[in-house]
């Protein structure tokens, strides 16, 4: 198989004490670049099919779920991951403030349930919970569902919540109809992937990230109140 000539070249390049193995390096770089190009091609193909299949839930937008009056003067963007303990703490800390701003018509909140932490569960819980939240948005119970998911947040590096519990929590939130089927089919996984990618492209690489009118603020309740106050 291997010709004598090839063997000699390999030997002289490999065992030479000095001197460049330039040819070999170029060869390996070319092969590696080819492998990289294949990876890139696979990625692009995946994205094109995902974009084609990516349905957006009713009551949601391509990058998240808006809650509150569309005409509200302020927009608060919250990038969260249902697997992220600090996001749960943020909800416990500022949930009431946000609810107040929404109900008074001062602000609308756009929740971006990104899947950054898939590797912290054995079942890609970040993606599954986000896609299920898309089903909840479709069923019109997104805010309640967010609170229930946080209240039942599974520990990191565990198995995540099982599908049956994602469904029962939605029913507890008031979702009916085809909610169970929507979750089982992972219907909005493509939406989750797209909004996660959009967040990443927008420079968000940690959860929770909170922006008031497009400007990132500290994750404290005081900062949130102050930013909304200042915008008035």
């Amino acid at each position: 198989m291997m010709s004598k000539k090839t063997g000699r070249r390999t030997r002289s390049l490999v065992t030479a004490r000095r001197g460049p193995s330039v040819l070999m390096i170029v060869g390996i770089v070319v092969v590696l670049l080819f492998a990289g190009a294949v990876g890139f091609g696979v990625y692009r193909a995946q994205h094109q099919s995902a974009a084609a299949a990516g349905a957006v839930p009713t009551n949601a937008i391509a990058t998240g779920v808006p809650v509150g009056q569309a005409s509200a003067p302020n927009t608060i963007d919250i990038y969260l991951d249902f697997q992220c303990p600090v996001c749960r703490e943020y909800e416990q800390q500022s949930g009431a403030t946000l609810d107040g701003l929404i109900s008074s018509g001062t602000a609308k909140v756009v929740y971006h349930p990104v899947a950054f932490l898939d590797r912290y569960s054995s079942t890609q819980y970040s993606t599954r919970s986000s896609a299920a939240a898309g089903c909840a948005a479709q069923a019109g119970v997104f805010p309640q569902y967010v609170k229930l998911l946080y209240a039942n947040q599974p520990p990191e590096n565990g198995n995540g919540l099982p599908e049956s519990q994602l469904i029962s929590l939605g029913q507890q939130a008031g979702a009916g109809g085809n909610f169970a089927a929507c979750v089982s089919a992972n219907t909005f996984a493509g939406w989750t992937a797209a909004l996660t990618d959009a967040a990443s492209k927008g420079g968000v690489d940690a959860t929770p990230t909170v922006q008031v009118n497009g400007k990132q603020i500290d994750n404290s309740d005081a900062a949130l109140r102050q930013a909304v106050q200042a915008a008035k």
């Binding site: 390096i25 390996i28 696979v42 303990p85 590797r119 690489d205």
Partner: protein, 170 residues
Amino acid sequence: MTTVETVAIQHRPAWTWLSTLGRLVLATVWIAAGVSKITDLDASVRAVRAYRILPEIAAQAVGAGLPAVELLLGALLLVGAGVRAGAVVSAALLAVYMVGIASAWVRGLQIDCGCFGGGGALAAGTRPTYGWELTRDGALLVLTLLLARWPVGHFAVDGMLAGRREENGR
């Protein structure tokens, strides 16, 4: 024939075993890094974006291309094919990684290096560990340079080819 092979092996000094060990360590690191990334190319692209160095299309190409590159490089080193060239390419890659990490550190970014998957997002409540990441990559860089200087080891395709050449009587 057997005599020639035996002589060839006996002529190899003790450092060839160290070289073999270093080569396998490097191969393991590349394969571990590649496997952890290739299972989630989206996360790999996010990790590259998080450095905020490359434009979007380049971040996609690097993020999606690197896992396959790392896996292949690891495989070549594992079987010992083109060890010196593989070590040189490894050194270049590691140097680029170190520049990226140092740049993230200098700019005060709060990211994970994404070296072994993870999409650049830090786990909850953790701080970046740039110092450790640079130390680790620096140690690996030293290893690659040593391997480039002394690439000849055991259980290597390179060695088998060289052995066959001696069999053929030069």
